[in-house]
């Protein structure tokens, strides 16, 4: 099959044989940068990280969150799909039956070990109920101990916003026996 070939020019000319022209051209470019930045910081790209945040696209896969239905209950019906598809096997679900028959199954325990998670987004694609999302835009997740990195269900779920349609509150979501107080909620702010 035919294709075009381009020989690379190895620059054996006189201009490259002397030191001064090369240094002069280099200085021209660096001085241009220098004076533009010293006077008006025109080309500077760095941002002051803790004070300024880097703008993130909507598809950025940040920290997980469990979404809620209109009536305040969790959308997740504990179907274990995200647990099976997760390549890092970092999701652990335990389903529970809710006394109110109109409510399908719900997750008593929904732990994600954020240290193992590789942020690939396969769980978001696999979830049939769009119950888990990664669009919180929270980039930096820093806590003091390893244990605080496996997020529990109460920590992942969205903040509860009561309105006229909400029937269920967080009290209707019984917690597994060994998990007492919730840790920071999904916005990354420690729960009171």
């Amino acid at each position: 099959m035919k294709f075009k070939v381009k020989k690379v020019d190895r620059s054996e000319g006189l201009k490259e044989a002397l030191y001064i022209p090369g240094i002069a051209v280099g200085l021209k470019h660096t001085m241009r940068h220098f004076f533009r930045n010293i006077v008006g910081k025109k080309d500077v790209v760095t941002i002051q990280y803790p004070e300024e945040e880097r703008p993130v696209s909507q598809r950025w896969r940040g920290r997980h969150r469990l979404t809620r239905r209109d009536d305040g209950f969790l959308k997740c019906v504990a179907c274990y799909m995200c647990e099976t598809v997760c390549p890092a096997k970092c999701i652990h679900i335990e389903a529970g039956e809710h006394p109110d028959f109109s409510v399908e199954k719900y997750p008593v325990r929904f732990d994600i070990d954020e240290l193992r998670c590789v942020f690939c987004g396969l769980c978001v694609e696999a979830c049939p109920k769009q119950a888990i999302r990664m669009d919180t835009g929270v980039i930096g997740m820093a806590y003091h101990s390893r244990e605080s990195f496996n997020f529990t269900r109460d920590l992942l779920r969205d903040a509860y916003t009561p309105n006229e349609k909400t029937k269920y509150t967080d009290a209707d979501l019984p917690k597994p026996p060994d998990q007492q107080s919730a840790l920071p909620n999904s916005r990354g702010i420690p729960a009171p």
């Binding site: 200085l27 940068h33 220098f34 760095t46």
Partner: protein
């Protein structure tokens, strides 16, 4: 009051005051300022902001506090001596390089003489030969540091530093031969005096116009002498990590660092003194009626600004030009700089004989 004036007139006291002024108020602060400015200016070249985080309370300045932060850091950092290192040589090595960087200012005049009072620490007859002697002492700093700190990378750095600094002293001396011939003496004040005249009243008789080739060789040799920019094979941080001061830490490491930045100011001061008319302000002689204090101020202002410009230029070169390999620095020195320096000397001699 009379007593004080008398006391001031004592030559010994004057010398101490001159040392205090030139070293502690001009060279050292400019050197420490350069440590920060190198990071700031390199940031400007590379489209970033550079250090601006050191703060006292909420006052951050534009990074100025980083000088204090570096100083404190180097005081409190632990000064460890590696296992198997030769303790005595290891501890005295930093003083050699620091001493040789500082001693350069002994003969540099920062302003014109008033009557018999010279703004110069000492005005020895063989001024520039003193410079060569001091810089050759600087070699001990790098060599002893490299050899004594029981690490192969340091050994590499030390041997490279010794070969490079010794051979570049030769070109340092040779490149100034032309200058001595043009201005007739090795005394620094005489050279600066000589640069005061003007050709046809317009072009000042600076060293760079009379000795362009000499200037190029001298400047290259000085940069190589301070092991900076393209000639930093002894400190080749990519292949031998940090060269001869790889095992140093704390105050010893920072004395090597400070020596390097004071050497930058020393190089800049030398260049302005020998090739850019030192304190001679061009075309100032037209204005006879200027008051003496204004003339001295102008002369010192010109000297300080030119030194500052050349400090900036050295830092700019560092962030533009890639590094030589060690054998290339030696080849450049012996195969290119040596013939050019000799040629310059011969040509200058012929011209002087032809003009005279």
């Amino acid at each position: 009051m009379q007593l004080v004036l008398e006391f001031l007139a004592l030559p010994f006291v004057q010398d101490v005051l001159k040392i205090l002024f030139i070293l502690l108020l001009f060279a050292m602060p400019l050197g420490t300022f350069m440590t920060l400015m190198e990071r700031k200016w390199s940031a400007a070249v590379q489209d970033r902001i550079g250090p601006n985080r050191a703060n006292i309370g909420s006052y951050r300045g534009r990074g100025l506090l980083h000088i204090a932060a570096d100083a404190l850091k180097s005081i409190f950092k632990e000064d460890l001596i590696p296992k198997g290192a030769d303790k005595f040589l290891y501890t005295i090595a930093p003083f050699f390089s620091f001493m040789s960087a500082v001693a350069v200012f002994a003969i540099i005049p920062i302003a014109g003489p008033i009557g018999d009072f010279k703004f110069q620490v000492t005005d020895v007859e063989p001024g520039l030969l003193f410079i060569f002697a001091i810089t050759s002492l600087g070699v001990y700093g790098a060599v002893l540091a490299g050899a004594s700190s029981n690490s192969k990378f340091a050994l590499f750095g030390g041997t490279r530093a010794s070969a490079q600094m010794i051979s570049y002293e030769v070109f340092l001396g040779l490149s100034l031969m032309g200058l001595f011939m043009v201005y007739g003496s090795t005394q620094v004040s005489a050279i600066v005096e000589g640069q005061g005249e003007h050709w046809f009243g317009l072009i000042p008789k600076w060293g760079v116009f009379t000795q362009p080739l000499g200037f190029v060789v001298f400047f290259t040799a000085l940069i190589a002498e301070t092991k900076r920019a393209p000639f930093d094979a002894p400190e080749g941080e990519s292949e031998i990590v940090a060269g001869y001061f790889v095992e140093y830490s704390g105050m010893r490491w920072s004395s090597f660092m400070l020596a390097e930045y004071i050497a930058i100011v020393g190089v800049a001061a030398l260049i302005t003194t020998l090739f850019f008319g030192g304190y001679q302000v061009p075309w100032l002689y037209h204005w006879e009626s200027a008051p003496q204090w204004l003339v001295t101020l102008l002369q010192f202002g010109k000297f300080a600004s030119f030194t500052f410009i050349f400090c900036w230029f050295q830092i700019q070169i560092r962030w533009t030009v890639p590094k030589f390999r060690f054998d290339q620095t030696m080849a450049l020195g012996w195969k290119k700089l040596l013939p050019v320096a000799l040629l310059n000397t011969v040509v200058t001699a012929i011209i002087i004989v032809a003009l005279a």
